[in-house]
């Protein structure tokens, strides 16, 4: 059995798998962590890994537009959005999430289940992945857990954050499944939409806070039936 030097693509897929795993870890930390600021940091790190994956993909099959995606992710999700949310949180002055729907132990248990589900759903398509293995599974898990995070937390900010992690999952899937990510125009559109969405959400959170004197979304329950 001889050791021959690994091709860049093999190394690439190793790295991608590693980063994907990292994203998953951060996601799980997000689920248990209650401090809002820490949550934002964790999200930033997760996005950083996503950018890294994009970069690696771009490098491996030297596709310029994937670099662009990486850069956009870096600017948007790693720097701009965390900064924005950070500002919001400081302005509002609420530091931590109180009484989520499920406590940490239950959450972890459920997330384990979602991970399982993610992998099960992704299994048939591992053959299609050209880079990394089971990245798709990770992506699916990210989406599911992000979703879980959304209805587990009550603070508007956390829900926005969760939404963004779902987005991350989707982008990861895009990279994992299609080698090159989506066509550039789509990527741009998605990025643009994301920014606007966060702006709008910010505006709403602000208005809600000033008319409800809180950003606890479980207080938003006057519309019934």
């Amino acid at each position: 059995m001889t050791m021959n030097a690994p091709t860049p693509s093999e190394i690439g897929s190793q790295l991608i798998t590693f980063c994907a795993a990292g994203m998953l870890v951060f996601q799980l930390l997000l689920v248990v962590q209650r401090m809002l600021l820490t949550n934002i940091r964790l999200f930033a790190l997760q996005s950083l890994l996503l950018a890294a994956i994009a970069g690696i993909v771009g490098f491996v099959n030297n596709a310029t537009h994937v670099y662009i995606v990486a850069v956009l992710t870096l600017i948007g999700k790693v720097l701009f959005l965390p900064w924005l949310l950070d500002r919001q949180v400081r302005r509002i002055g609420i530091t931590q999430e109180i009484d989520p729907l499920f406590g940490p132990p239950t959450s972890m248990l459920l997330c384990g289940g979602f991970t399982l589900l993610g992998y099960v759903v992704a299994r048939p398509f591992t053959a299609l992945e050209r880079l990394g293995n089971n990245t798709l599974g990770v992506a699916m898990t990210l989406v599911l857990t992000g979703f879980f995070l959304m209805f587990n937390r009550r603070k508007a900010i956390t829900q926005v954050l969760a939404l963004l992690t779902v987005e991350n999952g989707v982008m990861l899937a895009a990279v994992a499944l299609t080698t090159y990510g989506m066509p550039l125009v789509v990527e741009l559109g998605i990025f643009f939409d994301l920014m606007v969405a966060v702006m709008v959400l910010g505006i709403l959170v602000y208005r809600i806070r000033e008319s409800f004197a809180s950003m606890d979304t479980s207080k938003l329950n006057q519309l019934k039936g």
């Binding site: 759903v121 879980f148 209805f151 587990n152 979304t217 479980s218 329950n221 519309l223 039936g225």
Partner: protein
């Protein structure tokens, strides 16, 4: 042939339809000028109805071979991928029912000319006139629709316009409730009809009635029975059969009386038309239980209808309940006919069918007449409560006379039309006994006996209705002030009264008109066998099974008037007549309070049928010194409408409670909403594995 007309029924029908259309349109155009609108719309309706009448008669006379006359409409709604020939088809059955709608229609239109004046100033006469025309138009269209699509459109327009007419005086909450109940029931029925027709569509691949003919034959039994039940329910709601009748006594009274007349006289007959059309024309040879079901429903409806009518002291509600009774009688004819078709006795089936159809026309005539009379009374006394009436026979002589004739007719008293059709029903039931060996045949005499009970109770009910309303002293000031209605109102009632007498004395003319109808439905023509002695005597078709001649009876009766005359000449010529007070047991004269009330009149019946009515009574006495002499006494007595309280109310509550439970799903928590989506997602993902 006494009536050989050259002009085509088609032209006349087209004239009638356009007449209604113009009547409606003109009324809307004259919105601001009630008087003009009244004359235009109801005049138009009168002309149109007359054309319709001629069209029907002409078609029945010419189409004696069962041929149908049809016209293609301009291709409205032709954009559907299915091909739906928009064609009106005036076949014999349709023509007969056009007759049923047009005859009362023209009388009621005349009546409305005077009646609607009462609305001028307080509410829109134009709307009334327009809707009235639309209603008549829609009903006529229902009878001549050539395919299920057109039929359903006409059916729904009919329901809509009648709903609006029922809610015409929408300020009263009672009216609004009644309207909604009516429309909801009617729409549930329509749902059944849609499914029924579409099942036939599924079978034949077409919506054309021509294609539907005997389409049921090819279907598997289960599907046929499903179709039968769907149509029975759908048309049954409209016809007001028990237990689907609850909307009827609520809706008919609150409508303006001319509308009640049309609704009770004709509208509910659209259900009968549908049943005749579907059961005899579409579904092919019926299994026995269909006929048994229809006969049973008919008997039950007849009996319960009249029993509840007896408990009413609201004149119009009373009449409405009688509609249920008469629908029952009609259905007895139809049901028996179905059974005979099954057992292979076409002639007998035809006899029963004729009985049903004849009663359909008769009921249309005398029920419209009675409602018009009730309307005149309402118009004069401003109340529907019989306990506040009385003594009207002196103040409204003609109305009283017309109402009396109507009452006698609906109580099936000779020599009027009601008796003739019930006689035919009896005869068919009687002969039905021989058609089968099974125990089923006991149904015929039993339901015959129950029909007799029904008839007798109806007589009791109308003695009460006429006696309390028109006889004795007025029970209220408004009754004392009552005035006779306007000339057109009397004319309208007069026409129907004459129709009652005519249809009683000369049934054979109508029988000849019925020939093509029976030819179409059962393949037999009986008018020949049914009339003997130069067409003056009605027989059962079977030699020696019984004959009757209202004409003969009338003549004999008039002839025998000689006897009292002779007696008077012999003895009584010197006897004089004085007007004196009624015997008052030596009190200071009788007051209206001492008269028998409507409630009191029906008390024995209420007691006898306790089990059904579950009467409740509340008596409150107040004394000042001795427990034996009450100073004030308050007495209340209620009768329970079993279907209302035992079936519909619980059902309604159940649905509402269920829905309220469901509202908990939309409790406002966004977390919950997210979870719904999440669960859906997970389930679907698992599905794809």
């Amino acid at each position: 042939m006494p009536y050989n007309m050259e002009f085509s029924p088609g032209v006349l029908l087209a004239l009638a339809l356009t007449g209604y259309l113009l009547g409606a349109a003109g009324a809307l155009a004259l919105w601001k000028r009630p008087r003009a609108a009244r004359w235009w719309s109801f005049g138009g309706a009168f002309v149109a109805a007359t054309c319709g009448l001629c069209a029907a008669i002409a078609a029945l006379v010419q189409g004696a071979d069962g041929s149908s006359w049809s016209v293609k409409l301009p291709q409205l709604m032709a954009y559907l991928p299915m091909d739906i020939p928009m064609k009106l088809r005036l076949d014999s059955l349709g023509a007969f029912f056009v007759l049923v709608v047009s005859l009362p229609g023209l009388a009621v239109s005349l009546y409305s000319l005077g009646y609607a004046r009462g609305f001028e100033g307080c509410r829109s006469v134009a709307a009334l006139g327009a809707l009235f025309n639309v209603l008549l138009l829609a009903m006529t269209l229902v009878f001549v629709a050539g395919n299920a699509f057109l039929f359903l459109i006409a059916w729904e327009v009919m329901a809509l316009s009648s709903y609006l007419l029922v809610s015409f005086e929408h300020e009263k909450p009672e009216t609004r409730r009644a309207g909604v109940l009516f429309f909801i029931m009617s729409h549930i029925g329509t749902g059944c009809l849609i499914l029924g027709f579409l099942l036939l569509f599924q079978a034949t691949g077409s919506l054309d009635f021509g294609q539907f003919h005997a389409a049921g034959g090819g279907l598997p039994a289960g599907k046929r029975d499903a179709i039968f039940l769907l149509f029975l329910t759908g048309f049954g709601v409209k016809a007001g059969i028990v237990p689907l009748h609850i909307w009827l006594p609520a809706a008919h009274p609150v409508a303006p009386s001319n509308v009640s007349a049309v609704m009770s006289g004709v509208l509910i007959k659209t259900g009968i038309y549908g049943m005749a059309r579907v059961f005899f024309d579409f579904l092919g040879a019926p299994p026995n239980w269909w006929g048994v079901t229809v006969l049973t429903i008919g008997t039950v409806s007849a009996l319960l209808g009249v029993l509840y009518a007896l408990m009413e002291h609201d004149l119009k509600r009373l009449l409405a309940y009688h509609s249920i009774e008469n629908i029952g009688i009609i259905l007895m004819g139809l049901g028996a006919s179905l059974m005979f078709v099954h057992s292979g006795h076409p002639a007998l089936a035809t006899l029963a069918l004729i009985a049903g159809l004849y009663h359909t026309l008769n009921h249309a005539v005398f029920k419209a007449l009675l409602f018009l009379g009730a309307g005149a009374v309402l118009h004069a006394t401003h109340t529907r409560n019989m306990e506040e009436m009385g003594g009207l026979a002196k103040r409204m002589r003609w109305t009283a006379l017309f109402f009396l004739v109507g009452a006698a007719a609906i109580s099936a008293l000779p020599p009027l039309n009601g008796f003739v059709s019930e006689w035919l029903t009896y005869q068919s039931l009687l002969q039905g006994f021989g058609t089968t060996e099974s125990l089923i045949r006991l149904m015929f005499p039993i339901s015959g006996a129950l029909l007799a009970l029904t008839g007798a109770l109806a007589a009791a009910c109308f003695v009460k209705a006429f006696g309390i309303t028109f006889l004795a002293q007025p029970r209220s000031e408004s009754a004392r002030q009552a005035q006779e209605g306007s000339r057109t109102m009397l004319l309208g009632q007069g026409i129907l009264t004459c129709a009652c007498v005519f249809l009683g004395l000369f049934p054979m003319l109508l029988l000849r008109l019925l020939d093509p109808v029976t030819q179409q439905l059962t393949g037999e023509q009986l008018s020949g066998q049914l009339t003997t002695a130069g067409g003056l005597v009605l027989s059962t078709g079977v030699p020696g099974a019984g004959t009757i001649s209202m004409l003969g009876i009338t003549v004999a009766g008039l002839g025998l008037l000689v006897v009292p005359l002779v007696l008077w000449l012999a003895f009584g010529r010197r006897a004089r007549t004085r007007i004196g007070p009624t015997w008052d047991c030596g009190l200071q004269g009788l007051t209206p309070q001492m008269e028998y009330t409507a409630t009191g009149f029906s008390k024995p019946i209420r007691m006898i049928f306790k089990a059904l009515f579950r009467p409740r009574r509340e008596v409150q006495r107040e004394y000042d010194f001795s427990p034996y002499y009450a100073t004030t006494l308050r007495f209340e007595s209620h009768v329970e409408e079993v279907f209302q309280t035992r079936i519909y109310r619980p059902l309604n509550l159940l649905v509402l409670r269920f829905s309220r439970r469901l509202r908990a799903l939309q409790a406002g928590s966004i977390q919950a909403y997210l979870i719904y989506i999440f669960i859906t997602l997970v389930l679907l993902l698992l599905w794809t594995l």
